[in-house]
Symmetry: C2
Subunit: 376 residues, 2 copies
Amino acid sequence: MPAKSTAGSAQADNITMKAGGYYSLATTGAKDVIDGAWPLFERALKAMDLAGGRDDGSPFTMTDMGCADGGTSIDAVGRVLAWVRERAPLRPLQMVYTDQIRNDYNTLFRIGFGQGPIESYHGRIPGLHILASATSFYEQILPAGSLDLGFSATAMHWLSAKPCDISNHVHSTGAEGDELAAFQAQGRRDWERILLHRAAELKPNGHLVLLNFGRDEEGRYLGNTGGRHMFDIMNRLWRDSLASGAITEAEYRAMTLPQYYNSVAEFTAPLNDPDSPVHRAGLRLSHVETRVVRCPYALAFEAHGDAARFAREYIPTIRSWNESIYKGALSSKRGAAERDAIIEDYYGRYETLVRDDPEGHGMDYVHCYLVIRKEG
Amino acid sequence: MPAKSTAGSAQADNITMKAGGYYSLATTGAKDVIDGAWPLFERALKAMDLAGGRDDGSPFTMTDMGCADGGTSIDAVGRVLAWVRERAPLRPLQMVYTDQIRNDYNTLFRIGFGQGPIESYHGRIPGLHILASATSFYEQILPAGSLDLGFSATAMHWLSAKPCDISNHVHSTGAEGDELAAFQAQGRRDWERILLHRAAELKPNGHLVLLNFGRDEEGRYLGNTGGRHMFDIMNRLWRDSLASGAITEAEYRAMTLPQYYNSVAEFTAPLNDPDSPVHRAGLRLSHVETRVVRCPYALAFEAHGDAARFAREYIPTIRSWNESIYKGALSSKRGAAERDAIIEDYYGRYETLVRDDPEGHGMDYVHCYLVIRKEG
């Protein structure tokens, strides 16, 4: 799914990934994205020269920013930590999972320690210390100069605040005019803010591996890669809720996802511009590429051909990251049961739509994969 | 209440403090114990000479081991961190809350960040990074040589494992013969294990401030300070459950609290004996004293004289730390509702006992307050 975390400030209160391990179980595609990033991790690790005299007993600290329940990154994090352990046997390893304060840390720790439904690296890697932080990536999470490898996947498209409601759509990819400009400006400010805090945290020659939702060179983005347009479908179904009288005009408008998908140019600009505060803080672009990772549910449908099964499996991956936003858009004057009924009806219609006419649906992931180093 | 944490290994699965903030709200006495320890914190902080050239930008790291929901220590931790911030303005502060894996970390973070029912220091102290660890204090929580001030209150009496069931009592203070010896030996091994891991974590001249349940020089301990004997009452009521047929003999025996209360001599022996591994690892005793902190509910009863109110307020403070052990002693063949009924009946009879004959009841806290430094 497209949203491992919010990590926002103003918006964070009503945005949460589904708890209790639901998130990882419903989001195998997000795990595919991370598992496929090993070449980027390896590039960053080799550039840090851990094998060349750096086994000095100082801690090697890694973060997973916007970790949700930790399940989607567990294999990649384990592979990175094992790689470091092999080459620097004397360095303590600190793995710091971070997310916003309403994340489910109880499940995170159980998954991290291998007590959840997913196998963990914990216990296979000696000298490892697992920690958690509830500090948003819009703030400084760790002490200055203490981070070796900062990682984040499918999280930093959540803005720190929603700049405005979008009058005709649920997502900034459908925004126009001043509303689009407001989201672009917010995205630029937020990306710079994220990078400046990371610049402070990183040790000299520390690295970032960031897998962020974005728009690729062909204009593709999450759920819009040639088939149906996922956000347009969401918008149409939500409009239908308005047309049927299930929700009010205010509730329609309030359902604006606080997300922005940067283009490759927007991601790289502050890293390449010598005058930007990010560049002046020492961050440099080491590598950038975009990738499309196929929706695992659409891919499975191509094999099994069972439309009802596709619909039944596909809708939960969407719910895992946007259900809380829909709920938050509904008036607090409604009772909990009434709000639940509106939400169930909405996703129920989406499931019916997919079941009755399944071709072209799917939530292909479009990420910008970045490796960034701190000069030093 | 007498049990901020378990942090055990084998036993940890069925021992938890009550979640959702219940713990702190029901345990104002535990907060009194910690708030009263300021002179010991001050002693440790002054010995670390933070004002004398140590403001070098390196992080100052504090732990609260067995933190539960973080509420009982929040004022003391805030006072310590503010003290350090004032004297070392350039040092990043890392506050690491630690407990066992089944602790309620979601509530912990909300309390730490001031989003719970209790006012927090967060936001008043710049350059502060709050973290959590789910690593037991029977393991090494932090990288070697990274800890400045290790703190723990009312937690380390929970053993890493129950050495045996006690045939005639619910608590080691009522054990005899071989059973008592088994608990003594476990207590000795566990205390040494706790200290050795802390010796590894501490920086040279780092300090520990540990407020542990124990037996004082007059033989007093929790709930046994001259009035009624709390653990004997618990044992008698649990025997009554057996006599009435509510529980089986096996369930009576399985209700053995995995706790041991060290005497002052037992606490200080490994710190003073030059041949002990703890002493060889560099830990030295800076200060030891015992204190009795009056049960706040018994104290309030002296003022208000309302026996029903006393009983109603007193039993929850006991439940907050031992309810999970009673439940764990019941056969898993019983349904959840049946187990709940047995537990409710047990505490109900305790409440009736106190209401009908309130004199002498109370859970006075008896702690051994230790300040320990690492040589270097």
